[in-house]
């Protein structure tokens, strides 16, 4: 077990897979000489050469499609898209190609493609660079999406994504790259799509993912001081979703609070709330509640930016209200 940054964990995972399997390659803007905008591919070009670590022109749709075509011929490409905002150019390659070819070919072509991209609201990047678009990709059958929140999961899940024959999106978070945590490269990993209970509590099941996980844990600490105990679930995967773990937790707490950075309207939380109430309605002491981003493009101004997405205090407030008012939404 060693302490490392999230980006370093991803870098270790890339290195391990590239060393183990020469069909693994990575490509994207500045992944080679420059080492990746968030340093994830640092040092790999020197080690594996430019055919395996390929700097591409700024052509997201075609270089993501290159990954699709190469995967059809048995390579295991890892495409880095610099930010999820630019993935909109590549939506054709992701949605119409990667997600459809295995099916449309009647199962003839596997799609061992991994697409890494960071997303989320970082620090004052403006509305075009502060998007959370996971809901767009969750809605596409045939795609899987991992959302690691810790360095350990970044390490495990990237390795698992590369080994999977399904197309897997690894959605990283720009503010997590420099978060630190323990990474054990020896212990065996839970399945890529399994949710993990990060904290046990009796009162409310708080479902979170990606950067909302540390905020939920922080809120749980604060709430514990006043006697409200949260179970905090880290989803780890948005497609598929581990419903069993969520439902089992709600069976214990009878309340459910969903935290997401994405805009509230038609976001990931909407899917979570809808499906969980279908399964848990008769277990609930209160309506399922969401803490989510505001339905507004992210403002540039730092104060407004922070106000537009959930903070730990918003989770605390929502939990208090759920307990005090028995869940009735104000």
């Amino acid at each position: 077990m060693s302490e490392m940054f999230y980006w370093q964990a991803l870098n270790r995972a890339m290195d391990a897979e590239m060393a183990a399997d020469e069909t693994v390659l990575t490509l994207g803007e500045d992944v080679g000489l420059y080492g990746g905008t968030y340093r994830v591919t640092e040092g790999l070009m020197a080690k594996y050469g430019e055919w395996r670590v390929r700097d591409t022109p700024i052509s997201e749709n075609s270089f993501t499609g290159l990954g699709v075509g190469a995967a059809m011929l048995g390579l295991r490409p890892v495409v880095e898209i610099m930010t999820i905002n630019f993935a909109l150019f590549a939506m054709d390659a992701i949605v119409n190609m990667a997600a459809k070819i295995p099916f449309m070919s009647g199962g003839q072509f596997p799609m061992p493609l991994t697409i890494r991209m960071p997303g989320g609201v970082a620090k004052q990047l403006g509305a075009q660079h502060s998007q959370r678009l996971e809901h767009m990709l969750m809605n596409v059958p045939g795609l899987r999406m991992a959302v690691p929140a810790t360095p350990q999961d970044a390490y495990w899940q990237l390795r698992q994504a590369i080994r999977s024959d399904d197309p897997v999106i690894v959605l990283e978070h720009e503010l997590l790259y420099f978060s630190k945590g323990g990474v054990d490269e020896m212990i065996s990993a839970p399945p890529i799509h399994q949710a993990l209970v990060r904290r046990q509590g009796r009162d409310i099941t708080c479902v979170a993912y990606s950067r909302m996980l540390p905020l939920a844990l922080q809120a749980a600490e604060a709430l514990a001081a006043e006697g409200i105990e949260l179970t905090v679930i880290d989803l780890r995967s948005l497609s598929p979703i581990d419903w069993d773990t969520c439902i089992a937790a709600v069976e214990q707490t009878h309340r459910c609070l969903i935290v997401e950075e994405d805009c509230r309207f038609a976001g990931a939380g909407a899917e979570l709330a809808a499906t969980l109430q279908e399964h848990c309605f008769y277990l609930l002491d209160a309506p399922i509640r969401r803490v989510a981003g505001m339905d507004i493009p992210t403002p540039f101004n730092g104060t407004l930016e922070a106000a537009s997405i959930p903070q730990a205090d918003d989770i605390v407030q929502a939990a208090r209200q759920m307990m005090a008012r028995n869940g009735a939404v104000r």
Partner: protein
């Protein structure tokens, strides 16, 4: 080009024509649904190019790909069954007319979103170059596709990394119903390749021998490591864009002119009087008409009876394919889930809870 190869090409053109006309009929009868984009008029392109390729080469195609698949060697039965949406289809009824795939024959699919063939070919070309193999990737696209961003993105990367990709533009002059002078600032498509330094030429897409020779030349350069090559083939589709389109926007005079230059009629003619290849002409020397005539005699020729027999045989083959498709079972939802989960060799994913 020898007589055997010429006969094989003629047979493929006749099969293609018969197949597409049978598909049109099945569509009119309601046995085939959805979109159906037919190829009559363009046969010289698929036949000329694919007969110049090797079995180890990869083929990426468009939504008008039945004939590419047929010439590539996918049995007519399996293509026709796919058009009918049947379980016995080459994609198990999950792809349909626009999505024929065959891993064994390296047929990487028909793509129904204009411009997708470029990145797929780019990736295939990258994989071939990565493994240092002597194979080429044939990328078919229409004149409408060259205005898509992926055209420029992918040609740039293909040229940059010298990938073994053969870009083949089937210029039938129409993007659905918009004539090329109304959709492209540069209507001589091959000239666009010069923006990326990719060697390009143009050939008569109604003349199967001209197509074959140009394709063979390009493939020689690709296999010599000269990177991507570009070939524009001017051709014409006799029908509308799809079965839902009568093609009424096109002037009759234009259609008649192209039909007068029908590639099959031309091929039949050339098969009867063998057309010399470049090497044959060179060997015969410029002043020796007599020697050239002798050469043609030695080559032998196909006669009318042979051509008629070929016609009959391909029509029987296509009729058999239609019967096979009609009598095949439809896939069920279990088959659909199986195709969907085809990637999960060892992974067990959670499905809907409870």
């Amino acid at each position: 080009m020898d007589k055997t190869q010429m006969a094989a090409m003629l047979r493929d053109m006749l099969r293609a024509r018969a197949f597409e006309e049978a598909a049109a009929q099945a569509y009119a009868q309601g046995h085939i649904a959805g979109f159906l984009h037919l190829y009559p008029g363009e046969e010289a392109v698929a036949v000329g190019v694919l007969h110049a390729a090797e079995p180890g080469d990869y083929v990426v195609s468009t939504y008008r790909e039945h004939v590419h698949a047929l010439v590539r060697g996918i049995p007519a039965r399996q293509i026709m069954a796919e058009l009918h949406g049947k379980k016995t289809g080459i994609s198990g009824g999950m792809g349909g007319s626009m999505h024929l795939f065959d891993q064994d024959r390296r047929f990487l699919g028909g793509y129904a979103i204009v411009g997708e063939t470029f990145p797929i070919a780019l990736g295939a070309g990258y994989a071939v170059a990565y493994r240092k193999l002597p194979e080429a990737v044939l990328c078919f696209f229409g004149d409408g596709a060259v205005n898509q961003g992926t055209f420029h993105e992918s040609l740039n990367m293909a040229a940059l990394w010298k990938l073994p990709i053969f870009f083949i533009c089937e210029n039938n002059h129409y993007q659905i119903g918009t004539e090329i002078h109304r959709h492209s600032a540069i209507t001589e498509v091959y000239k666009r390749a010069c923006a990326y330094g990719i060697p390009a030429e143009k050939a008569d897409g109604m003349d199967v021998i001209a197509v074959h020779e140009a394709a063979a030349r390009a493939l020689v350069r690709i296999r010599a490591g000269e990177g991507p090559q570009f070939l524009e083939l001017e051709t014409y589709r006799y029908r509308g864009h799809s079965m839902a389109d009568s093609g009424s926007y096109r002037p009759n005079v234009e259609l008649n002119a192209y039909q007068a230059n029908d590639p099959i009629a031309a091929a039949v003619h050339e098969a009867e009087y063998p057309y010399p290849g470049i090497e044959a002409v060179a060997a015969a020397s410029a002043n020796s008409v007599t020697r050239f005539a002798d050469h043609c005699c030695q080559e032998g020729h196909l006669d009318d009876a042979t051509v008629e027999r070929m016609r009959r045989e391909v029509q029987e083959e296509v009729a058999d394919a239609v019967t096979f498709a009609e009598q095949s079972a439809a896939p069920d939802m279990e088959d659909a889930w199986k195709a969907f989960r085809s990637n999960r060799r060892f992974e067990t994913l959670m499905e809907v809870a409870r």
